[in-house]
């Protein structure tokens, strides 16, 4: 079985690199992206199963990125990476089509569960 393709979009390099590596150790085809501007091109090229998306990034509207992903391919599942206190944005993301959200700091067990759920729901 092909490993699940996960794309991590988060400007926090240290966080995103570590998390993506942990996911790879768990046999996910995980890739981290630190610039939201590159996100759409990569998504179109790689067509990931699940995108872990930080909605609060400098210089870019996360919600717009989310909308663009859903417009490109509605089957790509987006899980929002939310900082504490950003629940409003997370809720808004859910409204425009995100699958779920997780709160940072992220519990690896919780995120794997949610990725699996997202994949199943495709």
């Amino acid at each position: 079985m092909k490993p699940t393709k996960v794309l991590l979009v988060d400007d926090e390099v240290e966080f995103a690199s570590a998390l993506s590596e942990r996911l790879r150790l768990r046999n996910y085809d995980a890739k981290a992206l630190y610039h939201a501007e590159d996100a759409m091109a990569t998504i179109m090229k790689d067509k990931p199963d699940v995108v872990l998306l930080d909605l609060k990034m400098p210089g870019i509207d996360g919600i717009e990125v989310l909308k663009a992903i859903k417009k490109f391919d509605i089957t790509i599942k987006v899980i929002i990476l939310s900082g504490q206190g950003d629940r409003e944005i997370a809720d808004e993301g859910i409204k425009v089509g995100a699958f779920d959200y997780v709160m940072k700091p992220v519990d690896i067990g919780e995120i794997i569960t949610k990725i699996e759920q997202a994949k199943k729901s495709r």
């Binding site: 240290e14 966080f15 570590a18 150790l25 504490q84 206190g85 940072k104 992220v106 690896i108």
Partner: protein, 574 residues
């Protein structure tokens, strides 16, 4: 003296200059000031009126008495004038009724004298003197026939003036007396004669003593040279000089106030007696009018003291009331200021805390992932030295991350703009539910629980979940604060038509006064390290504030603490 008074008065109106020295308690000084100003304002006019009345009354009485004295002097003067007129008329009648020859007849003159003596008391003798000044005939007790009066002053006077009343003198008789002489013209032999009557000074004295005299008073007659014509009680005997320093010129009659040589004051009344060389004098030292004011004064004093006592009492009560009200108003303002200050302080602390939490959250996420990665790698690698220990250490990092995460989660969750839901709720039900959560612990700790939930409490529009969180928090704190066997009393009641309240009272250790103001601040906790985040009351306070209510706390060390949560009945008020 005036300067002192001025600075005192200034002090009344500018208390900081004067009364701050007297009293450190500004309310006490305010009270003193109000009492003094009020007493001054109300009692000063009273004093002025009483004083003026007193002196006016005294003045009127004195004036009245002076008028009495004047009236008496005038009356007596008139009596003396009438007496003299009568004598002059009688002598004139004699002169016109009899010829010189008839009057020169000793026997005839004696007859006339006898008749006159009966009619005129005080008449000493009667004589007829010819134009050469020789007494031709004489009727009286002394042998004075043939006496030559031509050199005497009165003889010359009567020749010029036709009628003459003499001063009192001793004369040949060595007894004080005065003479009345009338000139009779005899045109037939171109000559004249004089009819002369002498009258005892005692007659004049009797008139003077008719004046109503009291002890220390004096009334007598003097001539225009100030020689006493009748004896006086205090101012010399007859024919002595009457002396009174700074005597006014005795023209016309008057009643004056004078200073006696002894220093006392007296009323000095005098009136010239017409057709005579005399002045009637009365010196009144007694002051009968001063006795009446004494009664008046006592009454005034009684009324005055009564008014002062009542005035001071009323002023004092008034000042007390005013000062108490000011004190209460100040206290309320102070409380309101303290509350407002606390609210704004908590709000800014809240914002700060949320900002800090947000900034910490990202590094926290990185620590979490890095530690996780280390753990993953460790687990995947084969035998590594101290592998188990390293894994335990990483788990320690996870525990700490979780603890931090709990705090940031709560802080940010609270700081988040909360869309409070507004359902219609029964406050009593919420309290019962919260008690339900804690029942086991309460039973276990052997804590007595009293519920005094008001029946028919109006339903409120509020957020159930958030209220539960608040009550849970406060009751939980109460449970922690009390020893076994302590009491927690939860009661609900209506405060006013817009507000209901829940009060949670415990008989626990209480909160010291200096710590009471900090309990709503974040991270303030008295619990053991690691047991509480110190955010419970901070968040409760924020929640209740957002719901339009207020949290109040009262506490006494070793007696217990009462938290009161006031909530609006209608959400519209929020």
């Amino acid at each position: 003296m005036i300067k002192k008074l001025a600075s005192f008065l200034k002090g009344l109106f500018h208390p900081h200059d004067y009364f701050s020295i007297l009293s450190r308690d500004r309310y006490k000084s305010l009270k003193i000031r109000i009492v003094l100003i009020d007493a001054m304002l109300s009692l000063l006019p009273l004093f002025i009126v009483v004083t003026i009345s007193y002196f006016w009354f005294q003045h009127i009485l004195k004036e009245d008495f002076r008028n009495q004295v004047k009236w008496q002097i005038e009356n007596t003067t008139q009596s003396i004038e009438f007496f003299i007129d009568e004598k002059v008329s009688a002598l004139r009648f004699l002169a016109s009724s009899y010829t010189f020859e008839q009057l020169s007849d000793q026997k005839m003159l004696t007859d006339i004298f006898r008749k006159f003596e009966k009619e005129f008391p005080g008449l000493v003798d009667l004589g007829v003197i010819d134009s050469n000044g020789i007494q031709q005939s004489y009727a009286g007790p002394y042998p004075l026939t043939g006496k030559d009066y031509s050199n005497q002053e009165w003889f010359n006077e009567v020749v010029v003036r036709n009628v003459y009343v003499s001063d009192v003198f001793m004369g040949y008789r060595r007894l004080p007396h005065f003479a009345i002489a009338v000139k009779k013209d005899c045109p037939e032999n171109r000559t004249f004669c004089i009819i002369r009557a002498t009258i005892d000074m005692k007659t004049l004295k009797r008139f003077a003593s008719n004046i109503n005299l009291r002890e220390n008073d004096d009334a007598f007659v003097i001539n225009h040279d100030g020689i006493l014509q009748t004896p006086s009680q205090f101012h010399g005997n007859v024919l002595e000089r009457f002396s009174l320093p700074s005597l006014p010129s005795l023209q016309g009659g008057s009643v004056l106030d004078i200073k006696e040589p002894g220093g006392g004051r007296a009323i000095f009344g005098y009136e010239p007696i017409e057709n005579s060389p005399w002045i009637l004098v009365s010196i009144i030292k007694s002051t009968p009018y001063s006795r009446i004011p004494k009664i008046f004064r006592n009454e005034l004093l009684l009324i005055g003291i009564g008014s002062v006592l009542i005035g001071v009492a009323v002023t004092f009560l008034m000042a007390q009331t005013v000062v108490n009200r000011i004190k209460k108003a100040d206290q309320e303002t102070e409380d309101a200021m303290a509350k407002a200050e606390q609210a704004s302080k908590l709000a800014s602390i809240g914002r700060l805390a949320a900002g800090v939490a947000h900034e910490i959250n990202n590094p926290l996420a990185i620590i979490n992932e890095k530690a996780g990665l280390v753990k993953d790698l460790l687990e995947l690698s084969g035998d590594v030295k101290d592998k188990e220990k390293l894994l335990a250490l990483i788990n320690g990092i996870f525990d700490s991350v979780n603890r931090c995460s709990t705090i940031t989660h709560r802080l940010l969750g609270f700081a988040r703009r909360m869309e409070a839901t507004h359902e219609v709720l029964d406050l009593n039900d919420i309290v019962k539910e919260v008690i339900g959560f804690l029942e086991k612990e309460i039973l276990f700790r052997n804590i007595r629980l009293e519920l005094n939930l008001a029946e028919g409490l109006p339903k409120i529009e509020s957020d159930k979940g958030q209220l539960q969180q608040v009550f849970l928090n406060i009751i939980n704190n109460a449970v922690d604060a009390i020893e076994e066997g302590g009491l927690i009393e939860v009661s609900t009641r209506v405060k006013d038509k817009n507000t209901v309240l829940v009060s949670i009272r415990d008989t626990g250790s209480g909160i010291p006064k200096d710590k009471l103001k900090s309990i709503f601040e974040p991270f303030y906790t008295t619990k053991e390290k690691g047991e509480g985040t110190g955010l419970g009351l901070f968040i409760s306070y924020g929640i209740i504030k957002k719901l339009g209510g207020i949290v109040l706390v009262e506490s006494e060390v070793n007696k217990g603490t009462t938290f009161t949560v006031e909530l609006p009945i209608s959400a519209e008020a929020v």
